[in-house]
């Protein structure tokens, strides 16, 4: 589900810039971009809100009065009730919505984190190997990427999920395994220019193996684009995950995710609006924040684009 933040475009521009810029003196392009980001009020506020959501999702469950799968038989299908500690109300099974939203957020964040990690690792290694080895290996590997681009993404995920069962870990891997294409392209481009630099020549002259050179010398030089790529990938994966969960292919009961909660809330939204609103607001806020951070990064990288 590429393209909510225009990731490909941003990263390509950025990568081109890195390529044309000879070893930046003093502050690197990435540092420069971060300091510009710090001056972007929307992005800074988004980071603050994001940090709050992450903390709430991971620490919050220890402080709320109810567990996410705990049933309160005295309040079933009840609107928010502050006396009993059901601040967001309860669902049809008498489970506390606040606890469920926190758990769902946590799950969505974990899925996004793991899937992003998977896609970054695959993308970086694949791209670096292709770029470093070059020649025929490179053209075959990049052809494969072209082919993967042609596959209908969400169908592919659905097939994977259905075929390999509904284990959340597989879900992460399945989503991550398809998100790496752009990363591989960018990394390959970077590697092509990096491998002409003197320090790589020196390492090669010193007898280092291609694998060592890739891991020790090339990958560390890719930090900037990787961090930005990851930031822009997370919201895409959150949407993909919640979409799958919405279709009933994702996270399973009693565990939950934002998508599962929304799919549970949507059909009853007319009578129990709090069941839809609470997860919807959290999801939208989360995506807004991540997108503003992404946009902030984009502007920081390309200040003329205003």
């Amino acid at each position: 589900m590429a393209g909510i933040t225009g990731k490909d475009q941003v990263l390509t521009t950025y990568a081109n810039k890195l390529e044309t810029l000879d070893a930046p003196k003093g502050r690197s392009l990435t540092q420069d971009a971060l300091s510009r980001l710090a001056r972007n009020k929307a992005a800074v506020a988004s980071i603050a809100v994001l940090v709050f959501i992450v903390l709430a999702a991971f620490i919050g469950p220890y402080f709320v009065p109810w567990g996410y799968s705990e049933v309160d038989w005295t309040s079933i299908r009840k609107p928010p009730d502050f006396e009993k500690g059901h601040y967001f109300g309860t669902d049809q099974n008498g489970r506390d919505m606040l606890a469920r939203v926190l758990q769902g957020t946590q799950m969505s964040l974990i899925v996004a984190g793991v899937a992003t990690l998977v896609s970054v690792v695959i993308g970086v290694i694949y791209g670096a190997v292709a770029g470093y080895l070059g020649g025929r290996v490179d053209s075959v590997m990049m052809r494969i990427v072209d082919i993967m681009y042609a596959l209908p993404y969400i169908l592919f995920v659905i097939i994977l999920v259905v075929m390999f069962g509904r284990h959340p870990v597989l879900l992460f891997v399945g989503i991550g395994a398809i998100e790496w294409l752009t990363m591989a392209r960018i990394v390959r481009g970077q590697t092509l220019t990096l491998k002409e630099r003197e320090f790589i020549e020196a390492a090669r002259a010193g007898g280092a193996s291609p694998w060592t050179i890739i891991i020790r010398h090339i990958v560390p030089n890719l930090t900037g684009p990787v961090v930005i790529y990851a930031t822009l990938t997370i919201p895409e994966i959150i949407i993909a995950e919640s979409f799958l969960s919405y279709l009933g292919l994702g996270v399973q009961e009693p565990q939950t995710s934002l998508g599962t909660l929304i799919s549970a809330g949507a059909p009853v939204a007319e009578v129990l609006p709090w069941m839809l609103m609470a997860p919807a607001i959290v999801l939208v806020t989360l995506l807004f924040c991540l997108t503003y951070i992404g946009d902030g990064l984009r502007d920081a990288l390309d200040p003329k684009d205003r």
Binding site: M1, A2, G3, I4, G6, Q9, R143, D146, I147, A150, L151, P152, Y153, I154, L155, F156, I158, I159, L160, V162, M163, F164, P235, I239, S242, F243, Y246, L247, G259, I262, S263, G265, A266, A269, E270, P273, L276, A280, L283, V284, L287, F288, T291, D305
Partner: protein
Amino acid sequence: MLRYASRRVLSAIPIAFIAVSICFFILRLAPGGPFDGERALPPLVLANLRAHYNLDQPLINQYFIYIWRLLQGDLGPSMVIEGFEVSQLIAIGFPFTLTLALSAFVIATIIGILAGMVAAVNQNKWPDYVMVLAVMIGVIVPNFLMAALLQLWFGVYLDWFPAGGWVSGRWEYLVLPITVLAWPHAGRISRLMRGSMIEVLGTNYVRTARSKGLGERLVMARHAIKPALVPVVSYLGPGLSYLLTGSLAVEQIFGLPGIGKYFVTAALNRDYGIVLGTTLLYMFIILALNLLVDLLYAWLDPKVRYR
């Protein structure tokens, strides 16, 4: 231009072939099969079924059989819905999906381009701010959530449009689904259009055009819009394929009789024929769209043709 086109078409063929193969093997290497239902079938029946669908042969043979049939335009039978060919099911569901996605595509592209232009011309004035907000909402809110909210608001509270379902020939049943599909697409298009239009309006050649006294209308129509469309066009291909796949979800949510309905059930039942057939259909559409976009691109940017 013709040579460029034929070169592009030729280079798409091996990609399509390899992608078909990948899909086939991924699907087959996964555990489970179409007849592992809740009710265990008698061994003889199962063996007959398997033989009927060639599932008893080695995988590689099945692969060649599939490819051979595919070359003849035969997508094979459905393995779960008895007596139906995959192509029949696609013929039932796909026209609806295509109509839905294409209407959304056309509407959204036109709205997106116009909105992007208006915002660019009025940069940092109120039409621009309104558009940026609308784009943000469209791009960020996932389609299933947008669908739920629109159903609730316009379908239930205001009762302007039906919240779901389908009655043949009644356009009001399509208003909400098309809105859900079109909004994000229009958002991305207008965002691209706004950005590139602002860039183009600042170029030297637009200044030249203005210095010729052509009048702002002609400057826009002839000198600014065409180059500004370049990034937009490059998004149209991926955009339509997102719309087509996004339409799967929207069909589920609004209960519309498109191909999405069959696909999800088929995947759950491991109906290889339908899953593979649908995936291939989408893949070919995506490849064809990319091809079309490349050609359009070559028309917009003369430099591309000579690469």
